[in-house]
């Protein structure tokens, strides 16, 4: 017994560590009441009239842990109402979404440094979604933009609020707006884009008319969703 303990101590001594193991002191749970892990469950079946074909209904829910690791400061930043980017100390390229190692092969995967980005951006391209994944249907129509956060070399996707769908345009200046602190969850949905205060929509034109024609039925359809 004593020998076993001694061996474990020695192992601990020589064990190579690559990072300090995190100690989690802040923990929040905001699971909706109807979200629960059920595991595997057959919940029904159907059989064709001639009894040659059968379908079975299988239900499965599972909790996943997304371990953000080296990327964590971006998501923690969201909780604090900040857009954290990264920058290569060698070439100076900066990114949101972040890269923890530089994309330039000449920088040999140099570890990047964290920087707080301004809450300003510009529309690179845009679309107006009239259909989406199951969890987003009730929010349609969604104006989705790929916008370049000031100082970033890349564009990030997020929703544009505070604008009629037909008024969104390329290169329009944006501000980044966060949800109230108590509603944030540390995900990109904690913020959205809004037009910069100085921006004014351009005059009515044929394309706006066409977009309105396509979008109006989406508003009506969403009203019919339970």
């Amino acid at each position: 017994m004593t020998q076993d303990i001694q061996m474990k101590k020695d192992t601990k001594h020589t064990k190579k560590k690559f990072a300090d193991e995190p100690v989690f002191t802040i923990k929040k749970e905001y699971r909706p009441k109807d979200v629960r892990e059920t595991g595997l469950a057959f919940v029904g079946h159907e059989i064709s009239e001639d009894k040659s074909v059968m379908n079975q209904f299988l239900h499965y829910d599972q909790l996943y842990t997304i371990r953000h690791g080296l990327n964590s400061r971006f998501f923690i930043g969201l909780l604090d109402g900040k857009i954290m980017g990264t920058r290569c100390p060698k070439c100076g390229d900066a990114w949101v979404p972040v890269r923890t190692h530089c994309w330039n092969l000449d920088c040999t995967l140099s570890v990047t440094e964290w920087i707080e980005m301004p809450l300003l951006a510009t529309v690179h391209t845009w679309t107006i979604a009239g259909w989406s994944g199951r969890s987003s249907l009730k929010r349609l129509p969604i104006v989705l933009v790929y916008a370049i956060v000031k100082g970033s070399k890349v564009a990030i996707a997020n929703e544009l609020h505070g604008v009629k769908p037909w008024d969104v345009e390329f290169e329009m200046p944006l501000k980044i707006v966060f949800k109230p602190k108590e509603e944030r969850i540390g995900a990109v949905t904690d913020f959205h884009f809004e037009p910069a205060d100085t921006w004014k929509p351009s005059p009515w034109n044929k394309e706006k008319e066409r977009i309105k024609e396509l979008v109006d039925p989406v508003y009506e359809w969403v009203k019919t969703l339970k």
Binding site: V53, N71, L105, I142, L144, E159, P165, R210, V215, V218
Partner: protein, 416 residues
């Protein structure tokens, strides 16, 4: 010295969605093999010395390593097997792997079986499953699904290239109407109607500028084909084999927004390319395939293609990436209907993803098989009539495409 790579035959199940009576993946694979054996009586499963499985998402079947079910069912115990997964380019990547195996001389006869069962969940859930191949931390969370990402890219591309909604609608009309001549095509089997540009323009908004009829179909389907050395091809199908003369595989960023200023592309093609509009991995892999096949003028030297039309807009973007048109000519290229059956380079005579369907792991194989049928003179036998025959087809291109252009392969296939 590398071995020449040949294709001697292949088949798909009908592509469909919902109850059909032929849903099981192993049963579907068996039927595809049987059809191949009927077309090529000299081919036997005993001749295979490797089989590669082509399947994208285990989410749909709720079964890890589902290829083991098919492999077992086909009676192939002892035969080496592995699965290739590379998003929408899974089928193309499986051909790439099979071709490498044959070229190396290590394998002689390689089967590829591919499938997807996307009707096992609701359509909107299926869209979300597929979108899990985007970066879930940044894109899926903001309501993003692939039609939305593609729409954002296409919107800017169309403005920059002076291409209109009507221009790309022609592609949707072409492919869905081509599918009406093909009994295995999902559009023929389900919607079953010829459509016009107005029908596309009036279909519901998916994500501007993409409407419902600009989108491919979510499908269930299985496909199988045989890739082999020329020695084997001459033995079992001397008059009906084709050769894979060129191939290329390339990659791009997972998030489309990361293509701005990317040093990897700047090094290859100069600053500003591809932005969020061009498919650089398509251009890059096409260049590799053209070089290998000795093609210097694709528009003149390629007779037709089966390409990855997940959206009518992306087929138009692919034309440009393949070098069939440039910024100055692409709009007119579309308006002149150069890629319709009466054009000089028909694209997707088999219906493509817009018409035949898009069961992801089987899709690229379907494109290869349709290209094979065209080159082997089998279209009148496989389609309902001769309307979708490309006269004197000697050289075809197959394009397989993943993510938002994240992995793309191209193949030049020629009639023997």
């Amino acid at each position: 010295m590398t071995e020449k790579v040949c294709i001697i035959g292949g088949a798909t199940t009908p592509f469909d969605y919902g109850p059909t009576g032929f849903e099981s993946i192993e049963g579907g694979a068996a039927e595809c093999v049987k059809e191949t054996m009927q077309d090529v009586p000299g081919f036997s499963l005993r001749d295979l010395d490797l089989i590669i499985y082509s399947h994208f998402s285990v989410h749909f079947g709720h079964q890890l390593a589902p290829e083991w079910i098919i492999h077992d069912h086909l009676g192939l115990v002892g035969l080496p097997h592995f699965r290739v997964e590379n998003g929408g380019n899974t089928g193309g990547s499986a051909l790439y792997a099979a071709a490498l195996a044959v070229m190396s001389g290590h394998h002689d006869v390689v089967g590829i079986a591919g499938w997807e069962t996307m009707d096992s969940v609701a359509q909107s859930q299926g869209s979300e499953f597929i979108a899990m191949a985007s970066d879930i931390r940044y894109e899926l969370m903001v309501g993003g699904i692939y039609p939305i990402y593609y729409a954002a890219m296409a919107n800017k591309w169309m403005k920059e290239n002076h291409v209109t909604e009507e221009d790309v609608a022609r592609i949707a009309v072409k492919n869905k109407n081509n599918a009406m001549e093909n009994p295995k095509a999902q559009w023929y089997r389900n919607e079953h109607k010829y459509i016009t540009i107005d029908d596309v323009m009036n279909s519901r908004l998916i994500s501007y500028p993409i409407k419902k009829y600009d989108c491919c179909l979510m499908s269930r389907g299985v496909a199988f084909l045989v890739v082999c050395s020329e020695k084997y091809a001459k033995k079992v199908n001397p008059d009906g084999y084709v050769t894979v003369d060129g191939m290329g595989l390339s990659s791009c960023t997972i998030r489309a927004g990361d293509r701005l200023n990317n040093p990897g592309w700047t090094e290859r093609y100069g600053p500003g390319y591809p932005g969020m509009t061009e498919f650089a991995a398509c251009r890059n892999s096409a260049e590799q395939a053209y070089k290998m096949a000795g093609i210097t003028n694709p528009l003149k030297e390629i007779d037709f293609g089966e390409i990855h039309d997940a959206f009518s807009t992306s087929e138009a973007q692919i034309y440009k990436a393949l070098g069939l048109a440039d910024k100055q000519s692409i709009a007119q290229f579309l308006r002149d209907e150069r890629t319709s059956m009466h054009g000089d380079i028909p694209m997707n005579p088999g219906g493509g993803l817009l018409g035949y369907g898009h069961p992801v792991g089987a899709t690229g194989l379907m494109s290869i098989i349709e290209c094979y049928y065209q080159l082997a003179g089998m279209i009148p036998k496989k389609h309902l009539n001769k309307k979708t025959v490309v006269p004197d087809a000697a050289c075809g291109i197959v394009n397989s495409h993943a993510g938002t252009g994240t992995s793309i392969s191209n193949f030049i296939i020629r009639r023997k």
